[in-house]
C-alpha cells in the first residue's frame, strides 16, 4: 500500500466527520483512528481552537464555534474564567461550552482584554453566536 493511499484514507476520515476507518484488501489491513472523537461521554475537556472572530466597531467579537450550553465557570462552584476587564493571554480558557455531555473549553487565540460577556450562564449558544467582545492587546 502506498503512502498516497493511506493519505487518501486519512482524508476520508477528515472530510466525513467519522472517527475510525478499517480497510482490508488481500494481505493489507489498515486501521485509522482519530485522536479526539466527535462524540463521547467522557468528561475530559479538550480545548476548542477554531474560534470564529469578527470585527465590530473598535472591538473584536469572539463567536461560538459550536452549539451547546455556555458556562462561564469550569465547574459550578469555581469562579468564572474571565470577568469584564480581565486581561487574557493567548491559550487561556474563556468559557466552557457543553455539547453532547462533553465539556469543551474555548481557548483565547490571542492576547486580549474582555470588554463584555454577551451570554448568560447556562444559556444555549448557537453556532456563530457572539460570546465575548474583546480588545486585542
Amino acid at each position: 500500500m502506498q503512502t498516497k493511499e493511506i493519505q487518501k484514507i486519512i482524508d476520508l476520515l477528515q472530510q466525513n466527520n467519522i472517527n475510525e476507518i478499517e480497510y482490508k484488501e488481500k494481505d493489507i489491513y489498515i486501521r485509522v483512528k482519530k485522536d479526539a472523537p466527535v462524540y463521547t461521554h467522557s468528561a475530559e475537556t479538550p480545548p476548542i481552537k477554531q474560534e470564529v472572530v469578527e470585527q465590530k466597531n473598535n472591538h473584536t467579537i469572539i463567536k461560538s464555534p459550536i452549539v451547546g450550553t455556555f458556562y462561564r465557570t469550569p465547574s459550578p462552584d469555581s469562579p468564572p474564567y474571565v470577568e469584564k476587564g480581565s486581561k487574557v493571554k493567548k491559550g487561556d480558557p474563556l468559557c466552557t461550552i457543553e455539547a453532547m455531555k462533553l465539556m469543551n473549553q474555548l481557548i483565547a487565540e490571542f492576547d486580549c482584554e474582555i470588554v463584555s460577556i454577551l451570554v448568560n450562564q447556562a444559556n444555549l449558544v448557537e453556532f456563530d453566536q457572539p460570546l465575548f467582545e474583546v480588545t486585542p492587546l
Binding site: Y23, E25, V38, V67, T69, A99, M100, E126, F127, D128
Partner: protein, 444 residues
C-alpha cells in the same frame, strides 16, 4: 404526543415538516446553517438554532451541533427529513441514547437496510422476489465469474453499502469483469468506506415502481399504493405518479402485499418505501428507503393521508390515523420536480395554483439559491380523476410557473409531459435519454 421537534434539515422538506408540526400543535425548532438564515423555514419555525456554516458537513451533518441544539432548546424529538442524516444509523442511535425520539425507524433497521446484501436476504426471508444475483459479497474474481455466469450478462456490480443508484457498474461480458470488479471495489471503498460489492442481473428496460408504507414498529403495516418514478436522469427522479401505468391490478396486489409483509417482518417503524424494478411482467425488490421521500405528496393526495403527520403520530407511539391499506385507486396524481440548473437569486416568481394543484416549495422572490445544497426549488403536484386530465392540468400549472433569475428544468419537464411516450404510459427509465439524447448519462 411529541411536544417540540427539532428539524435537522432545510428547504422544502423543512417547510413541509413545520406545517405538519403546526397542524399537530407541536413546537417546531429549526436547526439551520448560516447560509439558510433568510429561508422560508427560518421564518416559519417557532424557534431556530444555528447549527453551523454553509457546508453540510459543518451544519446539517454536524451530529454534535444538532443534538446539542435539540437538547438545549428542550425538544423531545428530532425529525431528520430526507437526505443528510435521515438514513444514518449512527445518528439515529445517538439521538435515542441522548434521550430524544428519532422520527424514523430504529437504528438497527436503518443499519440493516443500508446494507444492500443484508436487505436482499431480508427480502428473501419475507418471500419478496429479488433480482437474480448474489446474496453474499463477491469473494474474488473466480466467485464473480461463477455468479455472473449463473445470472447471465449483462450484470451489475453494486456497492453493498451504496444506494439511490450510486456505486453501480454495468458489466456486459466476461472480459470486462476483472477490471470492473477492481474499479467497483475501489469506488465502493472511497464512496462508502466499505469495499463489499455484489452481483445483480442488469435490467435494461425497467420501470421504477415503489410502494409507500407506514409501519407501527410492532409488526403492523399499511401501504399507500405505489408510485411510478421511471422518469429519471442519472438516477435522479424527475416526475413521479400514482398509480403506475406499468403494472396490472394483479401485480399491484402482489407487490403491495409483498411490501407490507416485508415491512411487517422488519417491525418497521414510521414511513418507508420499498423500491421495485418492473420488467417484462415481473417485479424485483431493489431496496428499502428507510425515511420519508421527496415524492411523498403523490401518495398523500391519492390517499387523503398526511404522511408527515403520521410519522409524528407513530413516533409518539400513538395509534395511526390510518386503519387499512389503500383499498383501490380511484384517482391519479403526478408530481413534477422543478430544479435549479444553477445558483443565483430569484428575481421574479409566480407559483401555479388553481383547481387540483398543490405546490410544495420554499422559494420566494429575492430567495438566493445556494450552491451548497440540492437543486430542488419546488414540487408541483396535480391530483385529478384520471391520468390524461392530470397531465393536461400539470401542463397548465407549468405554463403558469414563472421563475426569473435562475435557470430551471421547466421546459425539459414540459417536453417530457407532452411526449407521446409519457402520454401513452408506455416508457421505461430510459425515457429521458430517449427524449434528450445529447444530454448523455454519467459514466457509471
Amino acid at each position: 404526543m411529541i411536544k417540540s421537534v427539532f428539524i435537522a434539515n432545510r428547504g422544502e422538506i423543512a417547510v413541509r415538516i413545520i406545517r405538519a408540526a403546526k397542524d399537530l400543535h407541536i413546537t417546531s425548532v429549526l436547526g439551520y446553517s448560516t447560509a439558510d438564515k433568510d429561508s422560508l423555514a427560518y421564518r416559519m419555525a417557532d424557534k431556530k438554532v444555528c447549527i453551523g456554516g454553509p457546508k453540510s458537513s459543518e451544519s446539517y451533518l454536524n451530529i454534535s451541533n444538532i443534538i446539542s441544539g435539540a437538547i438545549a432548546s428542550k425538544c423531545d424529538a428530532i425529525h431528520p427529513g430526507v437526505g443528510f442524516l435521515s438514513e444514518n444509523a449512527d445518528f439515529a442511535e445517538i439521538v435515542t441514547s441522548s434521550g430524544l425520539i428519532f422520527i424514523g425507524p430504529d437504528s438497527a433497521t436503518i443499519r440493516l437496510l443500508g446494507d444492500k446484501i443484508a436487505s436482499r436476504n431480508v427480502a428473501i426471508e419475507a418471500g419478496v422476489p429479488i433480482t437474480p444475483g448474489s446474496t453474499k459479497a463477491v469473494i474474488d474474481i473466480e466467485d464473480a465469474y461463477t455468479i455472473a455466469k449463473e445470472v447471465g450478462y449483462p450484470i451489475m456490480l453494486k456497492a453493498s453499502a451504496g444506494g439511490g443508484g450510486r456505486g453501480i457498474r454495468i458489466v456486459r461480458n466476461e472480459k470486462e469483469l476483472p477490471h470492473a470488479l477492481t474499479i467497483s471495489k475501489t469506488e465502493a471503498m472511497s464512496f462508502f468506506m466499505d469495499d463489499a460489492v455484489h452481483i445483480e442481473k442488469y435490467l435494461d428496460h425497467p420501470r421504477h415502481v415503489e410502494v409507500q408504507l407506514m409501519g407501527d414498529g410492532k409488526g403492523g403495516a399499511f401501504h399507500l399504493g405505489e408510485r411510478d418514478c421511471s422518469v429519471q436522469h442519472n438516477h435522479q427522479k424527475l416526475i413521479e405518479e400514482s398509480p403506475s401505468t406499468a403494472i396490472s391490478s394483479l401485480m399491484r396486489k402482489r407487490m403491495t402485499d409483498d411490501a407490507v409483509r416485508l415491512c411487517s417482518h422488519l417491525h418497521y417503524k414510521g414511513a418507508g418505501t420499498v423500491e421495485f424494478l418492473v420488467q417484462d411482467n415481473e417485479y424485483y425488490f431493489m431496496e428499502v428507503n428507510a425515511r420519508v421521500q421527496v415524492e411523498h405528496p403523490v401518495s398523500e393526495v391519492v390517499n387523503f393521508v398526511d404522511i408527515i403527520k403520521e410519522q409524528f403520530i407513530i413516533a409518539s407511539n400513538e395509534k395511526m390515523s390510518m386503519t387499512s391499506s389503500l383499498s383501490s385507486i380511484q384517482s391519479h396524481a403526478i408530481e413534477v420536480r422543478i430544479n435549479a440548473l444553477q445558483a443565483g437569486i430569484i428575481k421574479e416568481l409566480h407559483l401555479p395554483s388553481g383547481p387540483w394543484v398543490r405546490v410544495d416549495s420554499h422559494i420566494f422572490r429575492g430567495y438566493s439559491v445556494s450552491p451548497y445544497y440540492d437543486a430542488l426549488l419546488a414540487k408541483i403536484i396535480v391530483h385529478t380523476a384520471e391520468r390524461q386530465e392530470c397531465i393536461d392540468i400539470m401542463l397548465r400549472a407549468l405554463d403558469e410557473l414563472e421563475i426569473e433569475g435562475v435557470a430551471t428544468n421547466k421546459d425539459e419537464q414540459i417536453a417530457i409531459l407532452t411526449s407521446k411516450q409519457f402520454r401513452s404510459g408506455a416508457f421505461t427509465t430510459q425515457l429521458y435519454e430517449q427524449l434528450f439524447p445529447t444530454k448523455g448519462e454519467n459514466d457509471e
